[in-house]
Every structure is written in structure tokens, then in C-alpha cells.
Amino acid sequence: MTDDELILTPSQTLGPMYGFALVFEGADHAVDPADPSAITVSGVLYDGKGPLAQPDGLVEVWEGTQFARSRSDREGRFQVTVRKPEARVLPDGRPLAPYLNIAVFARGLQKQAQTRMYFPDEDANATDPVLALVDPERRYTLIAQSIEPGLRFDIHLQGEHETVFFAF
């Protein structure tokens, strides 16, 4: 192994023209929408000037075997079908509240913004060790809202309601 191999390959922006490659039919469904456990998560992707007005954002959900992608539309809207995952535990045995990993890619975002979506009406949120590391006044940005049907989870890259993002 050479020293050269210790240099990470840097990230570069997704660019605007990825849709024909990454967003194939069914990519937005981590589970079959007809499955009784299926939950629709919808939201709007915002930057500092408002909802993304070009279809140049990509929201990717990744939790265990669940994987889904949604390209934002001309009003910033995205939608994926997932199921609520089982709760995991930390190595020290402390329980984690159920959550979904969410990565946001976009033109003008030089690397992905990594966040988590937690579920509303979940008692375990109150004692979750990850949420405990987040400024209490910003925790709400990580918790989806119940709507009919499903859940709403807006993502703000900037602004008054800027979503909490995680280093990776």
C-alpha cells in the first residue's frame, strides 16, 4: 500500500442531470406500497431561498436492508415508501429509538447532507442517546409529523428551521 491510497476520493456535486440514471422505476419504494407495514413519507426540500425550484435534489433513505430514493420535483417535493424499522441498541445495551438514515444530495451540495428521521408518538425518542446529543431546541427538525396518509418530513438545508445534520 502506498501513501497515495490514504487519500480519500473527494465528493463532488451530484449535478442536475442524474435523474435518468439513479431514479429508475420503483426506486422510491423501500417496501411494496401494498404491504400493510408500508408508510408513505413525504416532504419538501428547502434551501436558503425556499423549496428547490428545479428537480435537482435527491433524497435517499437507508436503514438496514431498506433503501429508497426520490428526486425532488419542481416544488421541492419528494416521497418515499418505507416501513418503521425495529429499534436497535448500542453496544452498551442502551436502546435507540427507531429511525431512518436520510442522505440529501443536490446540485450545489458538494457532499451529501446526512440526517435522521425519527417517528412521532414514539416514547423512546425521549431517552434516545442520539437525540440527547442534539440541541433540544433543534430536535424537532428530526421528528416527522403524522399526516393523512403517512408522515411528513421536511428537510431544510438552511434557514430558521435548518435540519440537524450529522458529521460522517
Binding site: 490514504l6 473527494p10 463532488q12 442531470m17 442524474y18 438496514g64 436497535r88 438552511q158 435548518e162
Partner: protein, 239 residues
């Protein structure tokens, strides 16, 4: 100290790089929350894609009846993690403009010619040694409207490895292209060694000579963030 214990050099661009204007309104402004190692970094990867890649999806020149226009190339290399281990089973998705600089994407605003024999998208999984190989054509440099500049010719690449922290979307450039060094996107990379990591080099060993089979070889190795965690750091999966 062993090499493997050294942290990798991270020349990722910052979110905010004002020279690339759109970052000003899209870069997260609040401090990122750092989780203890093992709470995040070892989240296992999805099984997505592993059953879905079909043989031949790594050859972008044989997806239609005719051959695409342009310089045919072989782009190959290895995917490693930052501990130097091969990243086997990594899903690589690739997308690019054609030899005229036009994407198939319906949102491409350019009035440049499409090539009926070239879609510009491909996929493959790395083998047990982390190796991958694509046959494609070299994409043209293109620019936006008046006031923009030509970007260096590039291929977009998405990698899904063994865990969440190795997820990478990036772009591959070509050796000898002067536009690489005057580009507002590569300029966000804080060290030229990081830019060099994104440049594919001419590779005589993969070049094919022989009339219509001919293709110019390029080598591009990729280094993903490694999994230096101990087993104790892993989050249990109690499903």
C-alpha cells in the same frame, strides 16, 4: 505506527465554497452533530442493487443496435477502503453526457444532439478484489448559458459500499484536460492531491487495439472512507 492505523487524508470540499455560487444557499450553516464512533459509521449497507445488476450493464457501448459516436474508452480500476482493503461488492452507478456534451436526462436544457445509440448510464458491482470495469465513450466538455464556463469532461459516479459512511457521489475527470484546474467545482477541493484522486490516467495495459474493437484504456482507483471500528463499536441489529 502501522499505516493502517493512520487516519486517511480527507480533502473533501466544504459545503460552503462561494466561488461555486449555489453553495451559498445550499450549504448547511449550523455545526454538524458528531456521533461517537460506532453509533453511525458502521451502520450496515443496504442489500439494494446486489441482485439487480445484470451482466453487460457495465458496457455503455452495446445497449443499442448501433455503436455510439465518440472516443471509445475502457474505464477501470479498484475500489479500496482507506485501510487499503478491497471494497468488494460495491455498487457503482455511472452517468454521463455523450460525445457532444448532451445528457439523456429530460431536464438537460441544452440543444445539443442526442445519440440514439448512447444512453450514458451503467452499473456494476466490484469483484472480490474491489475491481470494476466500464466500457463507454469519453464525454465532451460542455457549458451552460452565457456567463457560465466549460466544465472539464467528466463522468458522474455513485458508490454504495459496505456502510453508510462510505457512501460517495463524485465525478471522474481525464488526464491532460486543462479545464480541470480552472473549474469551479474541483476548486472546492482544498488540496490538489484531492483533485488528482479524481483524474483517470491513460492505461496502456487495458487499451485494446484492433479496428472496431479499439478502445483507449483509463485507470481510476477510488478510496472510500474505511471501517476502522472495532467489533465492540458495532450497533447490534436485533431484527
Amino acid at each position: 505506527m502501522s499505516r493502517a492505523a493512520r487516519p486517511p487524508l480527507d480533502f473533501n470540499p466544504p459545503y460552503l465554497h462561494p466561488e461555486y455560487r449555489l453553495t451559498v444557499q445550499r450549504a448547511p450553516s449550523q455545526r454538524l452533530v458528531e456521533l461517537p464512533r460506532g453509533w453511525f459509521h458502521t451502520t450496515p449497507g443496504p442489500v439494494f442493487g446486489h441482485g439487480a445488476v445484470r451482466p453487460g450493464e457495465n458496457d455503455l457501448t452495446t445497449q443499442h443496435e448501433g455503436q455510439p459516436i465518440g472516443q471509445k474508452i475502457i474505464l477501470s480500476g479498484r475500489v479500496l477502503d482507506s485501510d487499503g482493503r478491497p471494497a468488494a461488492g460495491t455498487l457503482i452507478e455511472l452517468w454521463q453526457a455523450n460525445a457532444a456534451g448532451r445528457y439523456l436526462d429530460p431536464h438537460d436544457p441544452h440543444n445539443l444532439p442526442l445519440d440514439p445509440n448512447f444512453d450514458g448510464l451503467g452499473r456494476c458491482l466490484t469483484d472480490s478484489e474491489g475491481r470494476y470495469r466500464f466500457t463507454t465513450i469519453r464525454p465532451a466538455a460542455y457549458c451552460g448559458p452565457v456567463g457560465t464556463s466549460f466544465r472539464p469532461g467528466h463522468i458522474h459516479v455513485s458508490l454504495i459500499g459496505s456502510d453508510l459512511s462510505s457512501r460517495l457521489v463524485t465525478q471522474c475527470y481525464f488526464e491532460g484536460d486543462p479545464l480541470i484546474w480552472v473549474d469551479h467545482v474541483t476548486a472546492g477541493i482544498p488540496d490538489p492531491r484531492g483533485v488528482e484522486r479524481l483524474i483517470a490516467r491513460h492505461d496502456p495495459t487495458t487499451t485494446i487495439i484492433g479496428y472496431e474493437e479499439s478502445a483507449l484504456g483509463y485507470r481510476w482507483d477510488i478510496v472510500l472512507r474505511g471501517q476502522t471500528a472495532t467489533p465492540l463499536d458495532h450497533v447490534d441489529d436485533r431484527r
